[in-house]
């Protein structure tokens, strides 16, 4: 029972990352009809937003302290981050410590801007081109983004710790008599993703803007004929999708130190998730994300790997292949989306 719950929890946090990326992909696909192979790169850029903020906050002024000596006998150089000298030591340190959650605020405008620039600058010109061309140009863009990040941050993974308050282990099972403890940050990540997903759905469901966007997803031409500038709204939705991917990346950094090829690693999986969920279906993407995440974590148990060796590596692809062959539109796919 404990092991079962543990695997579900494991699956939920991996699944939240898949769900968030797949949600963004589906948003772009459902609104603009563009297959965005650079979406994994956006996730990666989000993660590096968090790294960048961490570096910025750690920018320090160096002062020489004559009273203390270092091990060579020279006067000790004391590095004080600017944040500490501005806000005082306690406040400054806690700001640095909370850099990952703070990066959310930092990342949202950046990711929105990247998304809008990408759509206006590049994707716009590819609406009329075949899907193969869209895949190829975004694939090229993904390579470029990845290499730019590599040029700036190097090829090694960069540690970005979670704040102390959120980095311990939480005993979940005590109350119900189970042995179940789990890293706090992963639970935070799950709740964070639920909030983001809920936010996106609420935005689409309960605002006028969202209503127009949904109408545009159904029938773009008619909405345009009604005198609504649907293109601009879709551009903003592209920005929102980029921001969702970016946030997923920001919050994922303490779980796994980011490196430049994260984008490609997650891209393949999240595409599989989108297709399993059904192209163009937002609830499908979220459902499939969590489902595949949980499946993957169950396949990684010792019991599964000893029964069928290596099942944890292939389970997602296997399930995807079966679902696509049995239910060609995916779990919740709409009729007429990408049929031909």
């Amino acid at each position: 029972m404990d092991a079962l719950l543990l695997q579900i929890l494991n699956g939920l946090d991996k699944g939240s990352a898949y769900a968030l990326i797949a949600l963004g992909l589906t948003l772009i696909f459902g609104t603009l009809g563009v297959v965005n192979f650079a979406h994994g790169a956006l996730f990666m850029i989000g993660a590096f937003c968090s790294v960048t903020l961490n570096k910025i906050l750690n920018l320090s002024s160096t002062t020489i302290d004559e009273t203390q000596k270092d091990f060579l006998g020279n006067p000790l150089k004391v590095k004080t981050p600017y944040v500490e000298s501005w806000f005082g030591e306690v406040a400054g340190q806690s700001i640095i410590e909370w850099s990952v959650p703070l990066a959310i605020i930092f990342a949202i405008p950046i990711m929105l801007a990247i998304g809008v620039i990408m759509e206006r600058g590049l994707i716009k010109h590819f609406y009329k081109r075949p899907h193969a061309d869209q895949i190829l140009v975004t694939f090229g863009l993904a390579i470029v983004l990845q290499e730019v990040v590599k040029a700036f941050f190097g090829a090694n993974p960069i540690q970005t710790p979670a704040p102390d308050a959120l980095s311990g282990v939480l005993d979940l099972g005590g109350a119900i008599g189970l042995q179940l403890s789990y890293p706090v940050w992963r639970i935070t990540y799950f709740f964070f993703s639920v909030i983001v997903i809920g936010g996106v759905f609420a935005f689409l469901q309960f605002t006028t803007f969202g209503m127009v966007v949904r109408a545009g997803m159904q029938d773009r031409e008619t909405v345009g004929l009604l005198g609504i500038n649907i293109d601009r709204r879709f551009t903003i939705m592209f920005g929102v999708a980029a921001a969702v991917a970016g946030l997923a990346g920001v919050m994922y950094t303490p779980i796994n130190p980011p490196n430049y090829h994260w984008g490609m690693d997650f891209l393949v999986l999240s595409f599989v998730v989108v297709v399993v969920g059904g192209m163009g279906s937002l609830p499908g993407a979220v459902l499939a994300g969590f489902l595949l995440g949980i499946l993957e974590s169950f396949a990684s148990t010792t019991w599964a790997t000893t029964t069928i060796p290596g099942i944890n590596q292939i389970i997602i692809y296997l399930v995807a292949i079966i679902i696509l062959l049995v239910r060609p539109r995916g779990l919740m796919g709409r009729e007429g989306v990408m049929e031909e």
């Binding site: 190829l136 290499e147 730019v148 292939i314 296997l318």
Partner: protein
């Protein structure tokens, strides 16, 4: 000649001449000159030109003709490599059975994958092939390398060991050979400042490539090829006229899978080692890049693209900051430093960035690839207006 029309004969002869004279053509600069680093006439690189040429020609039969964009072709390349190395381990270092088996295995494997994937088209097909390739990669990398049943030797890569069976091994032939001609034999010809290298492995691969190129011309010109083009143009209509397109697309898929397997077998023949990373999806992406860059749906395009990418991969990645400084030393120092600083990001380790940018530029402005560009230049020289329609296949 050989049942080809005049134009195709010309193309074929052109490729033959280039392939035969490649050691000269790729080596235009004297060995001790500053430009010698642009020479590509060394065996290892020339072998890769033709082998990846075969891979791209095969991919082009699927993507160029039918329009089905497979993102998993590297799986067949990897399977071919493994098959070839196994033949080295079991029989002997002779490459004929190795190539034979790699083509057969890749064919069977692609028949299986193609049968499942071709039930869907468009983006779904791409994702399905991608999923299969990633699955094969994972299987080759971890599952099939357990001690009980070690088929791929996992991370280390499959290679031939001294205690392998090698039933028909000839005593003194301990590297891959074709009935006694070892692949790594290189004859050198020194003409004053030039140093030309003639490698057996290169010429064997080039002969195979020429044969495969000939087959691809024949496929392009056959009724079967026309049918495949019809699939690309309007599959729905073809279905309505009562044609079942599945057997045709499946045949194209298997043929291109066999090309990939052959390329994999040749890779293993040049260097008897097969690793799982050959199957990773970035490797599949590379062959897509080659085909698009050269020009999908054209005869020469894939060869051109493969050569182009492999050349720049080798040459650009060799250019480091010292080389750049040597180039610009006659400039004022501030200009030299700033130029080097800018170019630093695009050369050496950053060559992937150049590749990505180049690829984007090609897809955006020149969807027909380099061949389309060449055609446009030719037409512009003739004084005719370049064709407005970008999608027209160029030959």
């Amino acid at each position: 000649m050989l049942n080809l029309n005049q134009r195709d004969t010309g193309t074929f002869l052109f490729v033959i001449i280039i392939a035969v004279l490649a050691p000269f053509i790729m080596n235009p600069f004297p060995t001790d000159s500053a430009m010698a680093q642009f020479n590509a006439g060394y065996p290892d690189l020339m072998q890769r030109f033709v082998i990846f040429g075969i891979f791209a020609i095969g991919f082009n039969i699927l993507f160029g003709l039918t329009g089905y964009l497979s993102f998993g072709h590297a799986a067949f390349l990897g399977v071919g490599s493994y098959a070839a190395v196994w033949m080295f381990k079991l029989l002997s270092y002779n490459i004929v059975p190795a190539l034979f088996l790699s083509v057969i295995i890749a064919g069977i494997f692609s028949l299986f994958i193609g049968f499942l994937c071709l039930r869907r088209s468009g983006i779904y097909f791409s994702i399905l092939t991608l999923a299969f390739a990633q699955m094969s990669f994972a299987i080759a990398y971890s599952v099939l390398s357990n001690p009980k049943f070690n088929l791929t030797n996992g991370e280390t890569g499959l290679q031939v060991y001294a205690d392998d069976i090698q039933l028909f091994q000839v005593e003194n032939l301990t590297t891959p050979h074709l009935f006694g001609w070892t692949m790594n034999t290189t004859y050198e010809l020194t003409l004053s400042a030039w140093d030309f290298q003639f490698n057996v492995g290169y010429y064997v691969s080039a002969c195979v490539m020429l044969f495969m190129f000939y087959i691809s011309i024949r496929i392009f010109r056959s009724p079967f090829g026309l049918m495949l083009r019809a699939v690309k143009t309007n599959q729905t209509r073809l279905n309505y006229t009562g044609v079942n397109t599945r057997p045709h697309t499946l045949a194209a898929f298997v043929i291109s899978g066999m090309y990939a397997g052959l390329a994999g077998g040749l890779l293993a023949s040049m260097d008897p080692l097969a690793g799982a990373e050959r199957m990773q999806w970035t490797a599949s992406g590379e062959v897509v890049l080659m085909t698009i860059l050269g020009g999908a749906g054209t005869l020469l395009g894939p060869l051109l693209g493969a050569g182009f990418i492999k050349y720049f991969e080798n040459i650009l990645s060799k250019i480091n900051d010292n080389v750049l400084h040597a180039w610009f030393q006659y400039l004022p120092e501030w200009l030299e430093n700033s130029l080097v600083w800018v170019l630093h990001w695009f050369t050496g380790k950053g060559w992937h960035l150049t590749l990505g940018l180049l690829f984007m530029i090609i897809v955006i402005f020149l969807p027909g690839g380099l061949m389309d560009g060449a055609n446009r230049i030719r037409e512009a020289l003739r004084g005719r207006k370049a064709k407005k329609n970008l999608q027209t296949p160029v030959e």
